[in-house]
């Protein structure tokens, strides 16, 4: 079926056998690519009614046959483009990733309706929230086009084959709405928040010039097809080579034709208004049009970046002058057949706008864009709480985001939702439209909205909370270093380099080992620890690629330090710590990948009081109004500040859930003028027992990647475990993350020379707990000398039977393997890969091993789990999370009391 077209139907059924299709989705990538890795479009574009109704009948028959009596399902089809032969290829008898997408694409909340169906309602009894007068027993009609584009993170997993196939590899996705496919595609590409232009440029060529290479589905194939069309290939040639349906190739070719037309001009003032309008209607950004004006020949693409940027601004100005302004339209489930009451909006360039702004004062909250490693749903949690807080405080809460996987993009989270790319152009236009505007909240959505601060400030748009300059101080190492010395807070030696040569000089001054990273990135992208000049040279090349035009930071690496994270809220007068977390892995492992525990279990009170003191000094000095996160390292009795982020951090939800204090909500209220006193948050909250956060790593999906933790963040999720004792909390967190700690069996130990003496204590503990120990020869000899029984086993390089054989045979139940240095030893890599493949719990740091032993000990001494609802904790001051203004969210509470009953009009 390779090359067949792929379609999905999102369907629902109730207990009366009423059946509806919520959304037909077409995959742009043909069969062979996981639908999560495909660019998908709704509604289906290349089916006649007969063909579509055939899919609908089949979906209904499949749902019957599988026995889904109520709820949602997803049925996937392959259709042969040559003769229409249709096969069902998959069905998911549950809500799925696609149902989230379909919900956002249509305004029909599938999961919510499925829940109501599950408790016995029927579709005709449930009201359609959006139209209010109609019921959920209908099929949404879409008068726009939705495009979903996956977001990958292959740069985080070097060595992994970027070819797409049946195993899903993307880590997030964006969705965009336009009136046409072209518009939604280009808006979708803008939403991806790439660190480069969303259209092909000479700086980032992905196509090798051979049509045959378009056949291989890769993350960047769309750009390759685009380049091929620019180079003069016909859409038919591209369609034939890629097996992407010719209809989509023609759409892309029409974009290229428009690009050529624009590129024939060289100044914004010469651009005919009709052509500019056509470009905007096709979804091109002002900056894209500017680049085309600068370029002249799209096949060559030689426009200098600064000229392109200047022309982009000129295009924006000319567009405004010509009144070519965006219009806003409502996602209403019914193609305008009925009036709608939920302002869920998208932009286009049509003849008239809908849903005019209200007279109320507004707060705009910028979401985080696509999920990616280092910027995930933690930030969405914060945005959602901010929206609720703003509604309660009497403002109109307006959300801007483009991620269909989030709660922030539910139509009932905010008063008004703009499903739009988070770019200066789109956000700026919304700010301009939504007057009176109290301000914009940028500190909850991660780095994406922070990157918009500069253009928004330049456009005169008020930023709420922490002043924009404080963000700059925190992120500009020079200014940050000066501030730290003024505050007398130690921070590691550091330097900035703008070139590889400068990097070498700075590193020598700071002293090896050093941490290198580009400025202005989240998630440790291209961050590394280097031990010598040779490694440095290799890594700075990568770093400059990841952040072109930016500088590279070089920090002293505090080896074997303890790391501590602090989340705090400040109102300009007072800094209140929300939680202090100790990392379980030592410094050098990215904080997002490290397990951590709240409260700290191994830090002296003296150091804790220093940490609290430093946090307060920094928060007041920066003038933080809202959230801040500070990372510390403790080495040789000195507390160093590693990093300050005057914004929501990814640990905010964890701290909030552990302490019962809704930090994001409080911070949002502070940002609109409340003091912490008024909000009743004056002390660091007490913590009941221990809360352990553990990272969830995607190594199982990326076989062949060495499962070693390092400064580059690679986790894609996290879990939390609670216990009265540290070991219990840790064990629960492991269990939640999918690793069941063994209570008996065989442990394999292989540690580097630095870790041998520390590993000895662990070996003894494991032996006392009754575990059988096996180890590689060096480690075994060391352990045996201390009188702990251990059996030697061959390394892989020593031949069979070796340790990987034992892992494969299921004879190993826990692996402790610490790698040496940044370049993983190939033997170690083979062991870790085998551990991932065969699902054996793997510990790569001694501190994690110590925590695991602690957990095993606890588990062996207790019978069953202690279970407690978070709401039932004693002494929590903020039960239910409602502090500050208590104006109830009227629409929400109305719905809570009256979940659905439709007004029966019969």
């Amino acid at each position: 079926m390779l090359g067949w077209k792929e379609f999905e139907l999102e369907v629902m059924r109730d207990r009366h056998d009423n059946f509806v299709v919520i959304c037909p989705i077409e995959n742009v990538d043909p069969m062979g690519v996981h639908t999560g890795d495909s660019i998908t479009v709704a509604p289906a574009m290349t089916l006649t009614d007969r063909e579509y109704q055939r899919l609908r009948d089949m979906a209904r028959a499949v749902m019957h046959a599988v026995g889904v009596e109520t709820g949602g399902s997803n049925v996937q089809f392959a259709v042969n483009p040559a003769d229409g032969r249709t096969l069902v290829i998959e069905m998911n008898p549950r809500v799925s990733r696609s149902s989230a997408l379909a919900s956002k694409a249509t305004g029909f909340p599938i999961a919510k309706i499925a829940a109501l169906l599950a408790v016995g309602y029927t579709l005709d009894e449930i009201r359609n929230d959006i139209t209010r007068t109609t019921v959920a027993a209908f099929e949404p009609s879409i008068d726009y086009v939705v495009t979903k584009i996956p977001r990958w993170a292959f740069e985080k997993f070097p060595g992994v084959d970027p070819t797409l196939g049946p195993q899903m590899k993307s880590v997030g996705e964006v969705m965009a709405i336009g009136r046409t496919f072209k518009e939604s595609l280009l808006k979708g590409l803008q939403s991806l928040d790439l660190s480069r232009p969303y259209y092909p440029t000479p700086d980032h060529r992905v196509w090798d010039g051979r049509l045959e290479s378009l056949r291989v589905p890769k993350a960047e194939r769309l750009w390759a097809m685009w380049e091929a069309l620019r180079a003069g290939h016909t859409p038919d040639e591209v369609a034939q080579a890629s097996t992407v349906d010719p209809w989509f190739c023609v759409q892309l070719a029409e974009i290229v034709a428009l690009e050529r037309e624009v590129a024939a001009y060289s100044s914004a003032d010469d651009l005919p208004p009709a052509l500019l309008r056509a470009a905007k209607r096709a979804g091109m950004s002002d900056e894209h049009v500017g680049w085309l004006l600068a370029t002249g020949d799209v096949a060559q693409g030689d426009g200098p970046a600064d000229l392109a940027a200047a022309l982009g601004r000129a295009v924006a100005a000319r567009r405004r002058h010509l009144h070519i302004d965006p219009t806003y339209h409502v996602v209403d489930t019914c193609a305008a057949e009925f009036e709608s009451y939920t302002p869920y909006l998208y932009s286009s360039y049509e003849q008239e706008s809908e849903a005019p702004p209200t007279e109320r004062e507004k707060v705009i909250i910028l979401g985080g864009g696509p999920n990616r490693i280092g910027q995930g749903i933690e930030f969405d949690y914060c945005c959602v709480h901010a929206a609720w807080a703003m509604r309660d405080a009497g403002y109109e809460a307006i959300m801007v985001n483009c991620n269909p996987e989030t709660v922030s993009t539910d139509y009932d989270t905010s008063d008004r939702l703009y499903f739009e790319p988070l770019t200066p152009e789109h956000v700026g236009q919304i700010c301009e439209r939504e007057q009176p505007l109290k301000g914009v909240i940028v500190q909850f959505g991660g780095q994406t909205p922070l990157n918009l601060v500069k253009p928004l400030v330049e456009a005169g748009i008020p930023i709420l909370g922490t002043p924009a300059d404080a963000i700059d101080v925190a992120e500009d190492r020079g200014r940050f270093g000066q501030l730290m010395s003024r505050l007398e807070v130690p921070n590691p030696a550091w330097g900035v380099a703008h070139s590889p040569e400068e990097a070498r000089r700075v590193a020598a001054e700071v002293g090896y080992p050093v941490v290198v990273r580009p400025s202005y990135v989240l998630g440790g992208r291209a961050m590394a620890i280097v031990y010598n000049e040779e490694e440095l040279a290799r890594y700075v090349t990568v770093a400059f690629e990841a952040a072109p035009g930016q500088s590279v930071l070089i920090d002293q690496y505090l080896e074997d330090a303890y790391e501590v994270d602090v989340d705090a809220v400040a109102d300009g007068h007072r800094v209140v710590i929300g939680g202090v977390m100790q990392h379980i892995e030592e410094a050098g492992v990215h904080s997002g990948d490290s397990a951590c525990v709240l409260p700290p279990y191994k830090i002296s009170l003296f150091h804790l009081s220093q940490i609290r003191d430093y946090t307060e000094r920094i928060g007041l000095a920066l003038g933080v109004r809202g959230l801040m996160n500070v990372q510390y390292a403790i080495k040789d009795d000195v507390v160093y500040v590693l990093e300050v982020n005057p914004r929501a951090s990814r640990t905010v939800p964890y701290v909030s859930k552990a302490t019962g204090v809704p930090l994001a909500r409080l911070a949002a209220l502070v940002m609109v003028g409340f003091t912490l006193d008024e909000l009743g948050l004056t002390h660091e909250p007490d913590v009941d027992g221990f809360y352990v956060k553990e990272a969830v790593l995607p190594f199982r999906k990326f076989l062949g990647v060495d499962a070693v933790l390092g400064p580059e963040m690679r986790s894609t999720g996290e879990v939390m475990g609670h216990g009265q004792r540290f070991g219990e909390a840790f064990a629960k967190a492991q269990l939640a993350a999918g690793d069941r700690l063994p209570l008996e069996g065989t442990v394999f130990i292989s540690v580097n020379d630095f870790d041998k003496s520390a590993a000895l204590k662990l070996a003894r503990d494991l032996h006392r707990l009754g575990f059988r120990l096996v180890a590689t020869r060096g480690t075994a000899a060391f352990i045996a000398r201390a009188g702990v029984p251990v059996e030697p086993v061959n390394k892989v390089s020593e031949g069979s039977p070796h340790v990987v054989d034992l892992i494969r045979q299921g004879e190993i139940h826990l692996i402790l393997n610490t790698p040496y240095g940044p370049v993983a030893h190939s033997d170690g890599a083979a062991i870790r890969t085998a551990a991932i493949r065969y699902g054996v719990p793997l510990l790569t740091t001694l501190s994690a091993a110590q925590a695991a032993i602690n957990g095993i000990r606890t588990l062996r001494h207790q019978t069953g789990w202690h279970v407690q609802a978070l709401q039932a904790r004693p002494g929590s001051r903020f039960q239910g999370g409602h502090v500050g203004p208590q104006k109830r969210r009227t629409t929400r509470s109305a719905k809570e009391e009256d979940p659905c009953p439709a007004t029966n009009s019969l």
Binding site: P43, A137, F138, D143, V250, A336
Partner: protein, 395 residues
């Protein structure tokens, strides 16, 4: 292609001119502007004779993607006055396609316009109700002239459009839904689960008030031998054909403007089982003594929820009607069986004693979902029972 103006809805909201890009035929045509929310099936919509006299605005934005093919026509030609879309595909992609939409429309003499804000037009129709409009490719006509022509157009109320679309002579229809496109039934109890066409057991005379081919195909697929007769055929002429049942088809325009059809139906009532669809439903309603009324902007789309009151089940169905039967004007012997969940409008009824059923919507789909196909089986059952009873009475 020339850019040209089209006079969009005029009326309570004042006139409004929309400029777009021409496709299809050249010309100037007035019509009643309606919107259709189907996301698929533009070819079936274009060839549905019920749209005679109307300018159809598609709310789905990408139109023409799958071109046109010889299989999906619902009538011998297109009867509508104009076709309005947001984005027309220049390139077609479908294995059955033979012509692109622009060429096809030109061939059928339909004037099309694209690149207009179809959502704005739809919202206007929703607010003001169906409006008179005019679509033109003639750049010599001024806006004022176009507006004047649209206003001078008499509209559809009271106009018999059926005679412009009905066939001239009766004919036999032999073709079932082809096995490839046979509706797949999901209900275990459905009498028609196999994909083999049933033996032709019943002779149905189908009145052509603007009949869609899919009604004929569904009748054959359900086991009927079908004779199609022109709209003016009298009851006696129908009965002379010795039918087991009579189908009253869909069709265009004002149901109150075709008294001859109501009269024929009244004479057939009780003498032969009757199944009415769309206009046929409105004719049957009048034959029972009921009255029809104009809906604000009608139902045109493939996603309308209709509740079958006896079972409580909901069918998602294809609709195309500007008028409806007022259930309060029906005699007590007529029971409302189907209602629309969106607006409560009467969508179907049956006579408690006589063999007559009808629905306001389209169980034949084409385009639209197949949920209501069991109505054809119900018609078959009605014919079977009637024949059996007649036989036992005869004995």
């Amino acid at each position: 292609m020339a850019t040209r103006g089209t006079q969009g809805p005029s009326g309570p909201g004042g006139r409004r001119i929309w400029h777009g890009r021409a496709f299809g035929a050249l010309g100037t045509r007035p019509g009643e502007v309606v919107f259709n929310t189907s996301m698929t099936g533009y070819q079936e919509i274009l060839t549905d004779p019920s749209y005679a006299g109307q300018i159809v605005v598609m709310t789905a934005t990408q139109i023409g993607n799958t071109g046109t093919n010889p299989e999906d026509n619902e009538a011998r030609r297109a009867f509508l006055s104009g076709f309005v879309v947001r984005a027309l595909s220049t390139r077609i992609s479908n294995w059955r396609a033979t012509l692109d939409l622009h060429t096809w429309l030109a061939h059928h003499g339909v004037v099309g316009i694209s690149e207009v804000d179809t959502r704005a037009i739809t919202r206007r129709l929703r607010t003001h109700g169906s409006l008179k409009g005019i679509i033109s490719t003639d750049e010599h006509l001024s806006d004022e002239e176009l507006v004047a022509r649209a206003q001078a157009w008499p509209g559809l109320d009271g106009v018999d459009l059926v005679q412009t679309v009905t066939c001239e002579e009766s004919y036999h229809w032999p073709e079932p839904t082809s096995p490839e496109w046979e509706f797949r039934q999901w209900q275990p109890t459905h009498p028609h689960r196999t994909r083999e066409p049933l033996p032709l057991q019943f002779h149905v005379v189908a009145y052509d008030f603007g009949i869609k081919h899919n009604i004929l195909r569904r009748l054959v697929s359900h086991g009927c031998r079908v004779t199609v007769v022109p709209a003016h055929t009298t009851a006696d002429e129908v009965l002379a054909l010795a039918p087991d049942g009579v189908l009253l088809s869909n069709g265009p325009g004002d149901p109150a403007a075709i008294p001859y059809a109501v009269e024929a139906t009244r004479r057939l009532l009780g003498r032969v089982p009757i199944f009415g669809i769309c206009l046929g439903h409105q004719i049957l309603g009048q034959a029972f003594g009921g009255r029809t009324y104009r809906l604000k902007f009608g139902h045109h789309g493939g996603n309308q929820p209709v509740k079958h009151l006896p079972t409580g089940r909901v069918e998602i169905s294809a609709h195309n009607h500007n008028f409806a039967v007022d259930p309060d004007t029906l005699p007590p012997d007529v029971e409302v069986t189907h209602v629309n969940l969106n607006d409560g409008c009467c969508e179907g009824f049956r006579h408690r004693h006589l063999p007559a059923i009808s629905v306001q919507y389209h169980p034949e789909a084409g385009p639209g979902p197949h949920d209501a196909d069991p109505l054809f089986a119900e018609f078959i059952e009605m014919m079977r029972t009637f024949a059996r009873d007649a036989k036992s009475h005869g004995e």
